[in-house]
């Protein structure tokens, strides 16, 4: 599997890009000890116009490069944590629905459908507005609107794995149902969940940036969406203020997608297999 993944050029590009973003996020405090909010120079300096400010300054004279680096922390954090939370909701729900079937399934699926019926971005906006924009509320809101596909996926996977004969064998071995679900069934649904999770991180980053863009970001956390939102009114005079964070989002989301696709191909070799005797 690793071999297949490693031989996928797109996926390796994705890994390289994501690794770069992660490293930048990690060493941001070392690179820019003054933090992202420090006003270091005149506002609206164009990129490369002043030494030491390769990406210019923003509306308050803050270093765009520093903002980007710190923004990576927030974007990645929100993306990861919200995905984890979404998995924490979606996986158990989907697993129970798929494994026990019947009324459990019916109930869980109604619940899921219910959440899928509410336009998700609108719900996220309302949730963030209600809980007030903090990193926690944003993360939670994103998780709440993004778990239903997880539940559906896990349910479908569990239903398919459940009918495999080794599950019957486990029952015959006298294993209890919860144990079968956790030990036998769930480990076999991990691959598609990983693929989906990698794509969800990407979507979560986009969602966070959209919320920030609408002014529903955490004002104490520098994020890329915040940067674009703050810069959209000066997009005509200072293109770099919205361009660079936009590119950062595109690159990160792209990287995650490439990785997700690479994982998918690696997990499902039959789609890429080129014929066998």
């Amino acid at each position: 599997m690793w071999k297949r993944f490693r031989s996928n050029i797109g996926a390796m590009i994705g890994v390289a890009l994501l690794a770069t973003v992660i490293v930048i996020a990690l060493i941001a405090p070392l690179l820019y000890p003054g933090g992202p909010w420090q006003m270091v120079q005149r506002p609206f300096l164009a990129p490369f116009s002043v030494d030491g400010l390769p990406l210019g300054t923003d509306t308050l004279g803050r270093n765009v490069a520093a903002q980007l680096a710190y923004g990576a922390r927030v974007s990645l954090l929100v993306g990861l944590v919200s995905t984890l939370v979404a998995l924490l909701i979606g996986v158990p729900l989907g697993a129970l629905a798929g494994f026990y079937g019947g009324y459990v399934d019916e109930g869980a699926m109604r619940f899921t459908e219910f959440f899928q019926t509410i336009p998700n971005f609108a719900l996220a906006i309302v949730l963030v507005a209600i809980f007030e924009p903090t990193l926690a509320s944003i993360t939670l809101a994103i998780a709440i609107v993004s778990w239903p596909p997880v539940a559906r996926l896990v349910r479908a996977e569990v239903m398919s794995v459940r009918t495999r004969e080794f599950v019957d064998a486990a029952r015959l071995a006298g294993l209890s149902k919860p144990r079968i679900l956790i030990q036998q069934v769930l480990p076999n649904t991990v691959s598609p969940i990983i693929v989906m999770a990698s794509l969800m991180v990407a979507t979560a980053i986009l969602l966070e940036s959209s919320l920030s863009f609408l002014g529903l970001g955490d004002p104490n956390a520098m994020s890329w969406g915040y940067m674009i939102g703050a810069a959209r009114t000066v997009i005509r005079t200072s293109w770099w203020l919205s361009f660079f964070p936009g590119i950062a989002i595109v690159i990160t989301v792209l990287a995650l997608n490439l990785i997700g696709e690479g994982l998918n191909d690696a997990f499902n070799p039959h789609l890429s297999r080129k014929g066998k005797a």
């Binding site: 006003m39 308050l60 009114t233």
Partner: protein, 516 residues
């Protein structure tokens, strides 16, 4: 005083009565309105967007020039008795409501005494000084005051006392009157259509009582929710007027540089929007006077004005705007002095207890402003966090006193007694409103002085009293005064006579014409 007022107004009235030959009739004007007004009946809703649009439809008795001197509105002349207790207005002749009914003094009495007393909180405060309102004849209205109240002459502005049609509203539930969907006023433009989310269309009032006015055939108020899109709309010529606040400040220089674009900072004199941060005087570090002073010294308000507001406006020196009557600059000046701020903090023994800043959720400028303040404060060692919320949350938090420092700005309506004292006297400490003494400042000495100054008869007495108040209160720093705001109006230069009064475009394009 009476004569002084009359003399000026008549001069202006004369000037307006004889329009210059160069003025051309016809044409259409597109003005941005942001956000979309909740309703257009000015007697029910008086917020900015509503007044911007409804200011064309409704009128009051007076208008005010950029020096806050009254001019004729629905009243062609007025008289104030020497004891300052009787205000007598002579109304214009031949005025008709947009539905064709005749306008009379009864409408004025109904509006001020019945309708607005019920619906208009701010006016209600001024009307508390009024003994009676009467209409001795169809063209005369008399306001009889209980005691002299100098600022009362400023209460006849359109947004403060819009005259509503009695024949439509009398005896009805004002808020739910079906006629609210199609507002009827006496103004230069009539309501035609409101496409929600898109635009409001007004057409020329052919029967307007001033001959030859208005010049324009129609006015469109365009709803464009995004600031960047509004700028684009102006550039592409979709709209030709951007009222103050329509675009972010940093876009103004760019737009101003374009060919055929004019910018004016006039038109906000009457409102004199004054921005400050409420500092919660009740609890936390902000309850300490030294801390509040430290905040003042810590902030580089000149920088903020130059960078955040792109140089528009003026750093505030105290509670009264320099554009408002009775302003005094004989006060302590809080220049940017971090060392002094640190010293004050050390003196009070500030222990690093975090304080929250609640920015005003009115767009990027305000957000940046809060960020700049946070940065300044953190530089002197104050722990600051920005609280974020939307308009409703801001209202809730400020009116429930759930904040440490909260941005706000308020109009001053030309007189400290109308728009300043309400924020500092102890009797105005009331939960539930973000417009009163939200900071919880209590100073009984000053309370008395505020009260006395309001009812003094001569301007000279009042000026002296207010100067004293300002000197004292600035040392106390009940709130952190930030800046006198100006909201430059950007317009195409071929739009002439757009801003002619102290309330600018809110007065409606009554005299506006387009050069062809």
């Amino acid at each position: 005083m009476k004569n002084y007022l009359k003399a000026t107004t008549f001069l202006i009235a004369a000037a307006l009565a004889a329009p210059l030959a160069a003025q051309q009739a016809g044409g259409r004007l597109d003005i941005v309105v942001q956000p979309e007004p909740p309703g257009l009946v000015l007697g029910l809703v008086q917020n900015g967007p509503t007044q911007l649009v409804a200011g064309d439809i409704y009128e009051s008795l007076l208008r005010y020039d950029t020096d806050l001197k009254p001019m004729p509105g629905l009243a062609k002349s007025w008289e104030i008795s020497d004891d300052g207790l009787t205000y007598t207005f002579k109304l214009q002749e031949g005025v008709k409501w947009h539905d064709g009914e005749a306008f009379s003094a009864d409408d004025v009495v109904f509006s001020a005494d019945v309708f607005l007393r019920e619906t208009h909180a701010r006016l209600r405060a001024s009307l508390a000084h009024v003994e009676s309102i009467t209409a001795p004849d169809p063209l005369t209205v008399v306001f009889q005051l209980k005691q002299p109240f100098g600022p009362f002459i400023n209460a006849f502005e359109t947004g403060t006392m819009p005259i509503m049609p009695k024949h439509i509203y009398e005896g009805t539930d004002f808020a739910n009157n079906p006629a609210n969907a199609k507002p009827i006023g006496t103004g230069p433009f009539k309501f035609d259509e409101w496409v929600k989310g898109s635009h409001i269309h007004l057409v020329k009032n052919e029967d307007y009582y001033v001959d030859g006015l208005p010049y324009l055939d129609e006015v469109y108020y365009r709803v464009i929710p995004d600031a960047a899109a509004r700028a684009v709309a102006f550039e592409t010529g979709e709209v030709s007027v951007l009222p103050g606040g329509s675009v972010e400040n940093w876009d103004i220089p760019r737009l101003a540089k374009m060919d055929g674009v004019c910018v004016t900072e006039k038109g906000w004199e009457f409102f004199a929007p004054h921005a400050w941060m409420w500092l919660n005087n009740r609890e936390g570090p902000t309850s300490n006077q030294k801390f509040r002073q430290a905040v003042m010294y810590a902030m580089d308000r000149e920088f903020m004005k130059d960078v955040v507001w792109n140089g528009f406006g003026k750093v505030a020196t105290g509670p009264v705007s320099s554009r408002t009557n009775y302003y005094s600059d004989d006060v302590t000046m809080y220049n940017h002095d971090p060392e002094k701020a640190k010293a004050l903090l050390a003196e009070m023994g500030y222990d690093g207890e975090p304080v929250r800043i609640l920015p005003l959720p009115y767009g990027e400028t305000w957000q940046r402003w809060a960020e700049a303040v946070r940065q300044n404060l953190s530089e002197v060692g104050i722990n600051v966090e920005i609280d974020s919320t939307d308009v409703a949350g801001w209202n809730e938090k400020t009116s429930q006193w759930d904040y440490d420092m909260a941005f706000t700005y308020l109009y001053q309506y030309g007189d400290p007694a109308l728009g300043v004292s309400r924020n500092y006297t102890a009797d105005r400490i009331k939960k539930g409103s973000p417009w009163n003494n939200v900071e919880g400042y209590e100073n009984p000495e000053l309370d008395k002085k505020w009260a006395a100054a309001a009812v003094m008869v001569t301007p000279e007495e009042r000026a002296a009293a207010y100067a004293e108040i300002q000197k004292e209160i600035v040392d106390d720093v009940p709130v952190a005064w930030m800046q006198e705001l100006t909201f430059p109006t950007i317009y195409r230069c071929d739009v002439k006579d757009l801003v002619t009064t102290g309330i600018g475009v809110n007065d409606g394009p009554r005299n506006t014409w387009i050069e062809k």
